[in-house]
Amino acid sequence: MSEQLTSHLFHRSRKSKIGMNSPSPSHSIAAARAHNSRLGLWLFAIYLVVYFGFVLANAFVPAVMEWQPFGGINLALLYGFGLIVAALLLAFIYGLFAKSGQDSDSDAQQVSR
C-alpha cells in the first residue's frame, strides 16, 4: 500500500518539476523524497491510531478516562500529555531519519525560483 502511494508521489513530483521547465531532479533527490514520504506515512499512521484511540475512547467509554493507572494521575491526563509527547517524539524521529538527498544549498532552490 505505502509502496504504491510512494510511487504516486514520486511520479507526481517528477511531473511537476518538468512542468516548471526545470531539469529533472537527480536520482538522489527522488530517492530521498520517496524515502521521506514512506517514512512520513508510517509515522502518520501511528499517530492517527493513537489520536483516534483517544477520541473514540472519550466518545464511547468516557468513564475510562477517570481510571488512575498509577501515581494518582488519571488516564485523561496521561493520554492527553502522551499525545503531545508522541507528536514531539514522532516529529523528532522523522527529522532524524528523513533524508535531504542533496547538499543543503543545492540547486533545488534555484529550480523553484
Binding site: H8, G19, N58, P62
Partner: protein
C-alpha cells in the same frame, strides 16, 4: 468587572509596536520584489521560521480562549490544545515537503501546480479569502475586547490600532516583516507562559473562602426543606419576596437593609430534602444598557458595587490548608484530590424586559475537573446519545484536519529555502507549539485557583492569573496578549492579499503584471482587507465570535485538505475533480454551520431544536463528502485529461 489600567502595560505594548514597525521599515528596503513580499525570498532560517509558525498559529483563541476555558471548566479546554497540536502531525508528515516543492507564493499555487487551471486558482483563492476572513473577525473583535481592560481605550481604538499596525507591517515588508513579528511574538509567548507556569507551581495551592478581595462567601444549611420553605429571614436580614422572575426554588435574596435596594443572592441546592444556600453574585442589565450588581448600580464609587473576583480551592487533600511549592506531576495529584469552586450562571427574566444573570458557586471535585465533559460543548460525551458522540468526533476531526489547510499557515512553507528546511521548521514549530500547549493546562488551572478570575469574561483568565502573581508580569502578559493578535492578523492579511493579487487578479483574470506591479496590487489588497477587517471588528463587537475560529477550521478542513491530499497521493486526480472538491467542501461546510443549532442559538437567537443540520460540527460529513466528490468527478472527467497525463 472593571480593570485598572497599568501604565507599564501601555509602555511595554507600545515599545513592542515601535520595535516591530521599526523592524518592518528596516526590512522593507529588501522586500520590493514579489519573491520578497510573498515569500521573504525563501531565505528565512528554518529555526526562525519554526518559531514564526508558533507566532502565526497561537492566536488569541489559543492563548486567551484555551486558558480561559480550562480556568472555567477544567480539562475540556485542554482537548482543544490536543486537537490543535495533532493537526501539525498532518502538516509535517503529509503536507510540508510537497507544499514547498509544488508551490511558490500561495496555497492555490500548490493545488494548481500540475494543471495550470484558472478554475483552480479561482476556487482556491476564494477559499483562502473565506477561511482567512472568518479567522480575522474574532481576532479583531478580540483586540477590541482586550484593549479596554489592558490599555483603558474603547473597543474601536483596539481594532483600529491592530488594523493600522498590521497594515504597516504587511505593506512595508510583506512576508519578511510578518515573519519577524511572528518570531518575536512566538518566542515571547512561549517564554512568558513558561515563567507563569513555574510561578503557579512554586505558589502551590491554598484553601480560601473567596477571591483575592478578601470577601468570604457565606453558606447556610443544610436545613430541612420544610424549615426552608417557612423561612422569612436569615442572619438577621429579611428575605425578599418571590415574583418578577425570581423563584425560591432557584434563588433567594437577603435584603441588605431597609435603606438600601441592595441584596445578596443565594443559590438554593436541594438534596435528600435538605437545603443548602450558597452565596451567589448577580448582575442585572436593563434594556437601555444600565447595569446593577446585587441590586445597586455597578461601579466602584460610593453606594456602588462590582462583581467580585473569583476562583478558589475550597478543600485540599487530607484537610491541608496550604501546599507550598508543587512539582509538575504533584500539582495534578493534589488537584485530583481537592475541591475547587467553579461558577455557573442562570438568567432570571424580569417583567420590564431587563435580565438578571445570577452567578452561583459549583463546588467541584478535582477528579471531575481533570476529566473531559464539564463544558457544555463536551458534556454530550457523558449523555450516551449517539448524536453527541458524533458531534465530539466531528470536532476533533476538524481540528486534526484543519491546521494543515489554513492558508496563512501554508504560505509559511514558501519562506524557507528547500524541503529539508520546510521539514525542520515544522519540527521546531511542533516543539514550541506542543510545549506551549502543555503549559496551557498549568496556566488554566493556576487561573482557576488564583482568586482573580473575572466571572463574566473567561478570556481574561491568563492576564488575571499574571496579576495575581505580580503587577509587572500582568503588564508583560497583557502586552503579549495584545501582540498575539498582531502576529496572527499579519499572517491572515498577507494570505488574503496573496489570494487577491496572485490567485484572483493574475491567475484567474489573467491580468499581466510584473513582479513589482503584483506587489503593488498585493499591498493595495492588504490595505483593503485590513480596512474590511477593521470595519468587521467594530460591527461584530457585541457578538460572541470565538466560534468563527471553529468555522474557519471546519471550512479549511473540508475545502482545502481533501484536494491537497488527493493531488499528492492519487494520480488520477483531475482539474475538474479539484475544483468540484474545493467548491463542495467549502459550500457544504459553510451551509452546515449556518444551519446548525449552535449558530441558531448564538447568531439568530432561535432555538437549537429548529436547526436543520442534525448536529453542529460539520467535519465528519463534509470532509469525506469533499473526498468523494473529488474521486467521482475525477473518474468522470478522466478522459478529457488523458493527453496531459503522464
Amino acid at each position: 468587572m472593571i480593570h485598572e489600567i497599568s501604565p507599564l502595560a501601555v509602555t511595554i505594548f507600545f515599545a513592542f509596536v515601535a520595535i516591530t514597525v521599526g523592524l518592518s521599515f528596516y526590512l522593507g528596503r529588501s522586500a520590493k520584489s514579489s519573491e520578497g513580499y510573498f515569500a521573504a525570498h525563501g531565505q528565512i532560517p528554518w529555526a526562525v521560521n519554526g518559531i514564526a509558525f508558533a507566532g502565526d498559529y497561537l492566536s488569541a483563541a489559543s492563548f486567551l480562549g484555551i486558558c480561559g476555558m480550562i480556568a472555567a471548566y477544567g480539562y475540556d479546554g485542554f482537548l482543544y490544545s490536543i486537537g490543535y497540536l495533532a493537526g501539525w502531525i498532518v502538516a509535517l508528515f503529509v503536507i510540508a515537503e510537497p507544499m514547498k516543492r509544488l508551490g511558490k507564493f500561495t496555497f492555490a499555487d500548490a493545488l494548481d501546480s500540475t494543471f495550470d487551471s484558472r478554475g483552480i486558482k479561482l476556487v482556491a483563492g476564494i477559499s483562502t479569502l473565506v477561511v482567512s476572513i472568518f479567522y480575522l473577525i474574532p481576532q479583531m473583535v478580540g483586540a477590541g475586547a482586550l484593549i479596554q481592560p489592558l490599555l483603558g481605550l474603547p473597543h474601536w481604538a483596539g481594532v483600529v490600532i491592530v488594523g493600522a499596525v498590521v497594515m504597516i507591517i504587511v505593506v512595508t515588508a510583506g512576508m519578511v516583516s510578518t515573519t519577524w513579528v511572528q518570531f518575536l511574538k512566538g518566542s515571547m509567548l512561549v517564554i512568558f507562559s513558561l515563567v507563569l507556569a513555574c510561578m503557579v507551581l512554586s505558589r502551590g495551592l491554598e484553601v480560601r473562602s473567596g477571591g483575592v478581595d478578601g470577601h468570604v462567601y457565606k453558606t447556610f444549611g443544610p436545613l430541612p426543606a420544610a424549615e426552608f420553605d417557612a423561612l422569612t429571614g436569615l442572619d438577621g436580614k429579611a428575605l425578599l419576596p418571590d415574583g418578577n422572575g425570581w423563584k425560591r426554588s432557584d434563588f433567594v435574596r437577603l435584603a441588605d437593609g431597609a435603606d438600601s435596594p441592595g441584596y445578596t443572592a443565594f443559590a438554593v441546592s436541594k438534596e435528600n430534602e435538605q437545603v443548602t444556600l450558597r452565596e451567589a453574585q448577580s448582575l442585572t442589565r436593563a434594556v437601555d444598557g444600565r447595569q446593577w450588581v446585587d441590586g445597586v448600580p455597578m461601579g466602584s464609587g460610593e453606594g456602588q458595587r462590582l462583581l467580585r473576583p473569583v476562583g478558589f480551592v475550597s478543600q485540599l487533600p487530607n484537610g491541608e490548608s496550604k501546599t507550598g511549592p508543587l512539582g509538575p506531576i504533584e500539582f495534578f495529584q493534589v488537584v485530583q484530590n481537592s475541591e475547587i469552586v467553579l461558577w455557573g450562571n442562570k438568567p432570571v427574566a424580569h417583567d420590564d424586559g431587563s435580565m438578571t444573570t445570577v452567578y452561583f458557586q459549583k463546588p467541584t471535585a478535582g477528579s471531575r475537573i481533570l476529566r473531559p465533559g464539564e463544558h457544555p460543548i463536551f458534556a454530550g460525551i457523558r449523555s450516551g446519545k449517539t448524536k453527541d458522540r458524533i458531534e465530539f468526533i466531528s470536532l476533533m476531526l476538524a481540528l486534526f484536519c484543519g491546521t494543515a489547510s489554513l492558508p496563512h499557515i501554508l504560505i509559511r512553507y514558501y519562506t524557507v529555502k528547500d524541503e529539508a528546511a520546510a521539514r525542520k521548521s515544522t519540527i521546531v514549530g511542533i516543539a514550541s507549539i506542543g510545549f506551549f500547549y502543555v503549559l496551557t493546562l498549568y496556566l488554566g488551572l493556576g487561573a482557576m485557583t488564583s482568586g482573580t478570575l473575572d466571572i463574566q469574561d473567561t478570556n481574561m483568565a491568563a492576564p488575571l492569573l499574571a496579576r495575581s502573581l505580580s503587577p509587572t508580569l500582568f503588564a508583560i502578559i497583557s502586552a503579549i496578549a495584545f501582540t498575539t493578535v498582531l502576529g496572527t492578523v499579519s499572517g491572515l492579511i498577507l494570505a488574503s492579499s496573496g489570494a487577491v493579487a496572485h490567485d484572483l487578479l493574475v491567475g484567474f483574470l489573467g491580468i499581466k503584471l510584473d513582479g513589482t506591479q503584483q506587489v503593488r496590487i498585493a499591498k493595495f489588497a492588504a490595505l483593503v482587507v485590513g480596512a474590511i477587517a477593521i470595519v468587521l471588528g467594530i460591527v461584530f463587537q457585541k457578538m460572541n465570535v470565538t466560534f468563527l475560529v471553529g468555522w474557519a477550521f471546519s471550512i479549511a478542513a473540508s475545502a482545502n485538505l481533501p484536494s491537497l491530499v488527493m493531488l499528492l497521493f492519487w494520480k488520477r486526480t483531475t482539474r475538474q475533480g479539484i475544483i468540484a472538491s474545493v467548491l463542495v467542501g467549502m459550500t457544504s461546510s459553510l451551509a452546515w454551520v449556518l444551519l446548525s443549532g449552535d449558530t441558531y442559538v448564538k447568531v439568530y437567537g432561535l432555538p437549537a431544536e429548529s436547526a436543520l443540520a442534525p448536529f453542529s460540527q460539520p467535519g465528519i460529513v463534509t470532509i469525506p463528502l469533499a473526498f468523494i466528490t473529488l474521486i467521482v468527478v475525477s473518474l468522470m472527467t478522466r478522459k478529457s485529461n488523458d493527453p496531459q497525463a503522464v
